[in-house]
């Protein structure tokens, strides 16, 4: 009824190849953008920003980054946590070395540095694949964490080995440090999420993305039809690293404010982002958002229901939360192995036919 393409004609090629060819989808997308940019910044408070929106948006960037590498190009990576740490530590070094430069420059720069490091660790992917590559990225995870712990230069020789974000601004609006307003935090993350998602979406449906997917589906066949595996794999690593680096920089500077590499960027962070894209859906930008929302919001939601709503003891709630989220993950993977994105696709198909399914 509501959701259909009948009467929605495209008369030019750009119309035909736009991201949301169905009118209803397009309007929904504009509505989401309008609410995100036009309404939420005015009503957001500290709790919603720090506990819900900021982590969700940052993890969404990280998930998009990993999805490009794993979902689109088929290269499994277990080093996301450490790659985020590269972004965070480059951001910290840049922030302290060039205090007068805007964060809008520091954050993409940290992304570029991370892209370089990730490409370096992507080199083995030209020789090995699958589990063996996963192990190579796992080595990157442990090596980088060890490096940031060991070499004092990275944390400016602070006594505790912690890095903490000084106050920095964008056009006079403070975006890092303790005096940041909730809306400023939210908006800077939203800005980067929107830019990253648009870039990722357009990369994946262009020439670059198609060569990634060709490599993912069968690398020998791709090579025969003229896809350069060196170029395709390394660009996937670089682009993925860029996004993950941006996520790491935002995670440290805007969200946490102070970070310690072993705790904030350990192996569990790598798994968390991997779970996000598996739950959300491999090879889908929407899936990255859905997965990030699921993994970030569900624990907060369950905690508020159990402790805030029902008044249960906190330890019982914490344990139950593990059981419920674990159970839901298993259930989702059994019922829909292609993730939330596939559920969304099926829902759209059904809606298109509704109310006359035959």
């Amino acid at each position: 009824m509501l959701y259909r393409e009948a009467g929605d004609f495209s008369t030019t090629y750009p119309q035909d190849s736009q991201t949301f060819p169905i009118k209803f989808d397009r309007y929904r997308y504009y509505a989401v953008l309008a609410i995100a940019f036009g309404i939420i910044p005015f009503v957001i408070n500290d709790y919603w920003a720090n506990a819900v929106f900021v982590p969700f948006l940052i993890y969404a960037i990280a998930a998009i980054g990993l999805n490009i590498l794993t979902g689109y190009c088929g290269q499994v990576s277990l080093g996301t946590g450490a790659f985020m740490a590269v972004g965070a530590y480059s951001c910290y070094k840049l922030m302290t070395a060039f205090p007068e430069v805007s964060m809008l420059i520091h954050i993409p720069l940290s992304g570029l540095i991370t892209a370089g490091v990730v490409t370096l660790f992507g080199l083995p992917s030209l020789r090995i694949k699958g589990f063996y590559l996963a192990v190579a990225t796992l080595a990157a995870q442990f090596f980088l964490v060890w490096l940031f712990n060991k070499v004092g230069w990275f944390y400016n020789y602070s006594a505790s080995g912690q890095i903490s974000a000084p106050e920095r601004d964008v056009f006079g609006i403070i975006v890092t440090g303790p005096n940041t307003e909730a809306w400023a935090k939210y908006l800077i993350c939203l800005l980067f999420v929107t830019a990253c998602a648009l870039a990722a979406r357009n990369l994946t449906r262009g020439m670059t993305g198609r060569s990634w997917m060709a490599i993912r589906d069968m690398d020998i066949a791709a090579e025969i039809i003229g896809v350069n595996p060196l170029k395709a794999k390394l660009t996937a690593f670089a682009v993925s690293g860029f996004f993950v680096g941006i996520a790491g920089a935002l995670f440290f500077s805007v969200y946490l404010g102070a970070a310690e590499v072993g705790e904030s960027f350990g192996i569990d962070k790598s798994f968390l982002v991997l779970f996000m894209i598996i739950i959300g859906g491999l090879g889908s930008i929407f899936g990255s958002f859905a997965g990030a929302a699921f993994m970030v919001l569900l624990p907060v939601f369950l905690k508020n229901v159990f402790v805030g709503g029902l008044g249960w003891p906190t330890d019982l709630a914490a344990h139950l939360q593990f059981i419920v989220s674990g159970g839901l993950i298993v259930m989702f993977l059994i019922l829909e192995p292609h993730g939330l994105a596939q559920l969304w696709r099926i829902a759209k198909e059904k809606l298109r036919l509704w109310p006359f399914p035959h």
Partner: protein, 425 residues
């Protein structure tokens, strides 16, 4: 039954807006640090329950403790902070150095005090820079100095050429004492050997193999959670003399030594308060909290080292709140008034006696220049046969000639980094 009462309590707490004093308890009853997190949280909450039941709160205003599970994880800690600060939280005691580092700038910006008792950022002792952060009565650098002084005393003042190993949790917490120990090694001429253990510390075979090879004369430990138990067990396995193995106060609870059984006998740990349950306050706790079925958690932690520490933390917070009420003349105090109360806090023998904890900890007074107390501590030793800790030294002061310049230096660096002009308001 317990569940229903809790539900009713939560509904009542959420219902009408009454004047109350809110003390959030950022606890961890799950995860690899739960063994140490539970007794502390129980002690913290039980003491406030006692004040509510016996005295009707502090200065006639009831106390509300909001518990929030952090799992010793900084991200969850931040979430807990954000979700509880709107309730009028008076003071945060996160029991985690990582979370304390997160809260130092945030709480300062929000004007809420943080009391990191014996943990957190050591240089927060300098109240001119860290206006809202308190770490009385002792800090990590005091602890490092206490341990070295104890070793000095055992060796009649000469430890040049000795080798001392530091087994530490590879995090901000474990790295804190390194600077001080380096200074002390320069002063006393001992050799410092650093052995890092990564979170959570369940696997320490290689670290203890290294200790077995290098044969240090003493081992110091900055451990927490499951790392403590494993380290003490490993030390017992390699037959390291236990009386030469000294833990910081966070590595000195019953949970840490019990798994190693008799092997742990003789293990030493520092402390900045007394141990055991031989105090009048325990009679009240039994009467008003335990027998009334109001104890927090499982109610089986009374009298353990960390339960006492949690209770001590709650006691200091309650005394600071009393001081704040006296200063402001206002019984329903705000976080800013609480901060002023903490800065004017004075713990005397008479006060501790009145509370029912005579001689429980050192006497000290807090001022704007000194948020960290005077740095008194003592050494306790575990007796596996009797199953208890006992103090083997008096309270003695740390080497202020080493620590004061370090505090100055580190807090000046923080002030420069964050553009803070040191001064008293």
């Amino acid at each position: 039954m317990k569940l229903t009462t809790l539900t009713i309590a939560a509904v009542m707490a959420a219902g009408p807006v009454m004047a109350d004093l809110v003390f959030p308890s950022l606890s961890y009853r799950t995860g690899p640090y739960a063994a140490n997190g539970i007794p502390f949280a129980d002690g913290y909450e039980d003491y406030f329950t006692l004040l509510n039941e016996r005295d009707g709160g502090i200065g006639g205003v009831p106390i509300r403790v909001i518990e929030c599970e952090t799992g010793y994880n900084t991200e969850k800690g931040v979430e807990c902070y954000e979700s509880t600060k709107g309730e009028g939280a008076l003071v945060y005691q996160p029991l985690s150095t990582g979370i304390t580092y997160q809260l130092i700038p945030k709480a300062t910006a929000d004007g809420i005090p943080v009391h990191s008792m014996g943990y957190g950022r050591t240089s927060a002792k300098n109240g001119q820079v860290f206006s809202n952060i308190f770490n009385y009565p002792a800090n990590y650098w005091d602890g490092a100095s206490h341990a070295v002084t104890h070793i000095l005393n055992e060796n009649s003042g000469d430890i040049s050429g000795k080798k001392i190993a530091l087994v530490y949790h590879n995090s901000a917490y474990g790295k804190e004492p390194i600077r001080t120990l380096q200074e002390l090694s320069g002063k006393h001429g001992f050799e410092l050997m650093e052995v890092a253990v990564d979170h959570p510390g369940q696997e320490q075979k290689s670290q203890w193999l290294q200790i077995r090879q290098q044969r240090p004369d003493y081992v110091l430990m900055w451990g927490w959670g499951v790392m403590n138990q494993v380290a003490i067990q490993e030390a017992a396995n390699i037959r390291f003399p236990m009386d030469k193995f000294i833990g910081i106060w966070w590595s000195g609870s019953e949970n840490d030594v019990l798994p190693a059984g008799d092997g742990a006998s003789g293990y030493k740990a520092l402390t900045f308060h007394n141990l055991g349950k031989d105090y009048p306050v325990y009679a009240d706790l039994q009467k008003y909290v335990v027998d009334a079925g109001k104890s927090a958690g499982a109610g089986d932690q009374l009298g353990t080292a960390l339960y006492n520490r949690g209770m001590y933390a709650a006691m200091l917070a309650a005394e600071a709140a009393k001081t704040a009420q006296e200063i402001s003349g206002n019984s329903d105090i705000s976080p800013a008034e609480m901060r002023a109360g903490m800065e004017a806090l004075e713990i005397t023998q008479a006060k501790m006696e009145a509370i029912g904890l005579p001689n429980f900890g050192p006497t000290f007074s807090v001022s704007c220049d000194n948020h960290g107390g005077d740095g008194y501590g003592a050494v306790a030793q575990w007796d596996a046969g009797a199953g208890q800790w006992s103090l083997i030294t008096d309270y003695y002061q740390s080497d202020q000639s080493i620590i004061t310049p370090l505090v100055e230096e580190d807090s000046a660096a923080f002030a420069a980094e964050n553009a803070i002009t040191p001064g008293c308001s």
